[in-house]
Amino acid sequence: MKKMLFSAIAMVAFTVSANAANEIVESVEEVTTSSTSCATQYSNNYDYFISIGMSAQNAYTLAYGLFWNCLEKTYGPLPGTGKDTKEATPKQTETISPR
């Protein structure tokens, strides 16, 4: 995920690279702030799911899924995360987390 966050930051930075340098700095800061708010949301969701009786593993799985949704809402679909086809990509086959 660290890699993914950095990739997202890099992608936005690249997109705006044609603009002035100060704009790049602003965009990177904006993305970093949004990533942090998704992480904050992860933390809040996890604590809430535990409080309503979910197991630590379920709370993690769901909070992490919502964290991804948050990143996608913020940045749009992230590279390598195509959801629009039912068939497996060569890299991934099935599967998450046995309880």
């Binding site: 309503i52 497996a88 086959t93 099935e94 599967t95 998450i96 987390s97 046995p98 309880r99």
Partner: protein, 232 residues
């Protein structure tokens, strides 16, 4: 108690008759989990998961001492069905080989955080308690058993001693007969078809070529990932 002894005797006698091989096809139903309804994001995931559940069926290939469970149309795009997998109270996304004699399962799991597959190999203790309740599924008499997952979630399983193989969906096993219906919290597997044939025996193979972890290291992985996210 008398009923349970009869079931066990029936099971033991059938095991002696020789090897039984075949395939069970299951559908999955995702019910309304009241905890999901308390959270807007989770409600959205659950509703999407319920819709996606109509798309997939699951196969359990079995023979006397081994079984293999997988999504019927696998390989599938995990991310396309991610809401189904998150909404389910079990792990329908896992392909699982089970050594029924030693009660050891070996499931291929995808760690989304690391974007990597692992083989989770371990044993479960479902603490099965067989009840006297019975009904029919696919014209076979099934009995109800109650158990618990390792997260202490209630399992309701309906097994048939008429197919004396102690397998079931995912890594659920250990009852004196094949599990034809299984419910964990609000997720239910329902048998829709049974075939008796040995033509699927070659599918019952343990995965190799990936790092093998057990529940302990799996939990440690999750804990590390959780700590990383909490420290952002």
């Amino acid at each position: 108690m008398k009923n349970i002894i009869t079931i066990l005797l029936f099971f033991i006698s059938l095991v002696g008759l020789g090897q039984i091989s075949g395939k069970v096809e299951y559908e999955i139903e995702i019910g309304d989990d009241p905890r999901f309804l308390l959270h807007e994001g989770l409600t959205e995931i659950m509703r999407s998961g319920q819709t996606l559940s109509n798309d997939l069926t699951f196969n359990l290939y079995f023979k006397e001492n081994q079984s293999y469970f997988e999504i019927n149309n696998s390989p599938i795009n995990y991310l396309y069905y991610v809401n189904l997998f998150m909404a389910a109270s079990t792990d329908p996304e896992c392909s699982c080989y089970s050594d029924l004699k030693n009660q050891i399962f070996s499931c291929v799991i995808y760690n989304r955080f690391l974007d990597e597959e692992f083989i989770l190999e371990d044993k479960n203790d479902f603490q099965w308690e067989i009840t006297n309740e019975e009904k029919e599924i696919q014209n076979l008499k099934v009995f109800k058993a109650i158990g618990k997952t390792r997260n202490n979630e209630r399992i309701e399983a309906w097994f048939t001693p008429e197919i004396p193989v102690n397998a079931g969906p995912e890594n659920f096993m250990g009852l004196p007969g094949l599990i034809l219906e299984l419910q964990v919290l609000y997720t239910k597997y329902i048998c829709k078809k049974i075939e008796f044939t040995n033509s699927y025996d070659s599918k019952i193979v343990k995965a190799t070529g990936k790092e093998i972890i057990n529940y302990k290291s799996f939990d440690e992985q999750i804990q590390k990932q959780h700590n990383f996210l909490m420290n952002q």
